[in-house]
Symmetry: D2
Amino acid sequence: MPESPLRILVWNEGVHEELAEPEHIGEIYPEGMHGAIAAGLRKHLPEAEVATATLSDVEHGLTEERLARTDVLLWWGHRAHDDVGEEIVDRVHRHVLAGMGLLVLHSGHFAKVFQRLMGTTCSLAWRNRGERELVWTVNPTHPIAEGIPNPLIVPEQEMYGEFFDVPEPESLIFISSFAGGEVFRSGLTYSRGHGRIFYFSPGDQDYPVYHQAEIQRVLANGVRWAARPGHGREAPAVSNPAHGWFDESHAGAGASPGNS
Amino acid sequence: MPESPLRILVWNEGVHEELAEPEHIGEIYPEGMHGAIAAGLRKHLPEAEVATATLSDVEHGLTEERLARTDVLLWWGHRAHDDVGEEIVDRVHRHVLAGMGLLVLHSGHFAKVFQRLMGTTCSLAWRNRGERELVWTVNPTHPIAEGIPNPLIVPEQEMYGEFFDVPEPESLIFISSFAGGEVFRSGLTYSRGHGRIFYFSPGDQDYPVYHQAEIQRVLANGVRWAARPGHGREAPAVSNPAHGWFDESHAGAGASPGNS
Amino acid sequence: MPESPLRILVWNEGVHEELAEPEHIGEIYPEGMHGAIAAGLRKHLPEAEVATATLSDVEHGLTEERLARTDVLLWWGHRAHDDVGEEIVDRVHRHVLAGMGLLVLHSGHFAKVFQRLMGTTCSLAWRNRGERELVWTVNPTHPIAEGIPNPLIVPEQEMYGEFFDVPEPESLIFISSFAGGEVFRSGLTYSRGHGRIFYFSPGDQDYPVYHQAEIQRVLANGVRWAARPGHGREAPAVSNPAHGWFDESHAGAGASPGNS
Amino acid sequence: MPESPLRILVWNEGVHEELAEPEHIGEIYPEGMHGAIAAGLRKHLPEAEVATATLSDVEHGLTEERLARTDVLLWWGHRAHDDVGEEIVDRVHRHVLAGMGLLVLHSGHFAKVFQRLMGTTCSLAWRNRGERELVWTVNPTHPIAEGIPNPLIVPEQEMYGEFFDVPEPESLIFISSFAGGEVFRSGLTYSRGHGRIFYFSPGDQDYPVYHQAEIQRVLANGVRWAARPGHGREAPAVSNPAHGWFDESHAGAGASPGNS
């Protein structure tokens, strides 16, 4: 079926880039991490519309109109989680429940909107020593694992370790091990309301992970999986149907509760 | 191993009882719904300490001290969800993540604390016409299904129907059908942080469901399953362990991250 | 990416059709149930190659060569499960583990290959009185639910009821209720090895269910979901890799274990 | 409620012990691996009846009568999987579906009965160099994780690595990492029919793992979780209930289908 192009928005708080923390961030990410992520997506999804936004944009670049025409939002945040306005968090949360796809990246595990979608602390163990990360596929039939080497090797990366306090995922796709011996469930999917969510941990302000071809492929796979381009943007809502309402509805007579 | 008795707290907003809505509530629930629920638990768990609390108690009867000595909290709410203080919601949420068991009953699907734990709207379809509900077991090996007839028949009950907007449960134990043809996932388990959660939908202010022996058995099974009496009350937290920290810890040297 | 057309094989034992049991089967399924199923798939997947095979074909129409060029196999069986040769069952099982998609339909729950993939009895309750079946969507974000009305109404169908003795599905998509009050988990997905499996219960030799547009849509969605056209046909296998083998492999040096 | 003691049977093929392969097996397991496992269970479950059996016993020590009075069977096999009689495999499979608990240990992943219950190849990657294994808890609320350190350290053990070709588990409790960087889902639960299954990988003929206190605790937790002492030994079976059969059954009138 002919479909309009996917509309993707890569959001990055952009604070590490502004502050030049670490100093070398401008060298490894001259266009910001969002720039590198967007470039990778454009390579794998040439037909898609890929835009970026950051915290310092008006309404963080996440206006109602913008989200309404976004199929999949990618979220990178770290230092400035608390600076994201509550109203924006409400808005993104509502759009996910209404069918917008969401990819939460690395330190985004502590983003307010991720915590709200998960209902847990989303805490974990971490250590930043540039350890080698091996990303192993444990769900080879999942579309997000398509074409990904097993293991995928990230030469240097911040360690994230268990216990990762998130709900049991619907699909566990990747498990990482680190040089120090820790393990981490690094690729997880969820659905919430009408929206699909993919959390993926590799990627950090200190290391050029988002330039790695296999990482870009994972993100492109994730975007394709999370997108529901044909779906109306509507969250599940309470309804009070009459006895036998669906007999009418079957005859084509008007609105009905519970449609997906 | 010798264990101290389970400490159970049955919370009911108590508003239907106060307002006598419906009029006959005093006849079917002379001690309130919480009274009937507590009586059923005492029958099945004679060694347990079972107490009750309501919205109108000081701090809704849910003080820090009270929750600290509660192994499992049961929650019934309907009309007054909005009257539950945010601070109390925070507190209950925190205790669940720290290991307190939680049973959410019927219209409690819209309780603030349940929505916060789920991350979704928790909306559903409903119709109150006293339809027969058949509760079918689809997970016969789960401890909560132990001894429950299949189907469990509730002669008259409010209809709850799909789509029930909650995350995919860790275990789906019961599916209900109603006289009007709707179905509902009526017995669901989750874990969040260190706590276990069981949602069970049968039970309503209009019908004497909580006096039914099989329903009481389900609730007692649920309490036993959700309780973690030996577990310290501590939520998962972020940690920053040194490389190889566990080698020390293995030698018995002090606190370590990530202990369950 | 340009892809070759999906290659679909609809398998039906074809025994009800041969024996004209029930008598009216020739009226509702003049081309056999496989003919109706194939026609529905051609409508929704016009670019696909859709073929059919039956028990009485040489090797049941399921030769090694045939399976090797099949992306998704649909399986309808009922009276003649025992007549399917063990060698053919081995072969289909092996192809599923190696990445061929499989849709198991209705009474196929007792097919040898389904029992072998599930590891359980696959037993259920049944009653053939032409009861109305309501198929409710409980997983609206799953691609198989895309565009399906909620509920999907099957005017007359054999009742299938719980307990359905299959492993907990990876995704539970549909739950059916019947006029008699029973419920059934009627749309379930699994992965086994490198293959994806979808079980869908509506459809029977006595009723014209496979002509229903919504049912055809479910099957087409299922085929699209189960297909892995780019995947080599190889089952997971044991391996004995050297310490650090992946360092070599990362440099592009030849075969490695565990690739998906 | 007063309960009869758990009846546990530890089965070991016993071939490594007989052949003295490796040579030092008699030193680390003077009573065989089954002896060490049984001793650990007796320590943690003093009230239980713990027996052992091996391949060379009449009917491998797995007679109908023996299984009928076994609540939980533990299975260790490696060299002699093919020597286990088909009839015995059928019998154990049937008892699991009928409610007997099963713990499958280490190389038992290739036991015929485990493959039959899983429906997959159960293949994995392996390497025997005595690498350190770290067993991390990722499901801290599961009863099997109760009291287990995180990580549990096995100083020397055979490496088992992904991809482990088993169905997605109902609960993933432990993930192991090895010195070489591989990861493995090392603690998994399933239910099949009326039975509960726990697979746990640490433990090998070359290393004294089964003497380790934390490993013994995991096995005791697993046995307690898998046991269904009050449950009649009956597998799910097909039934053909009349319309409204449960109305009768509710009145207490005789046998009904689908009871758990």
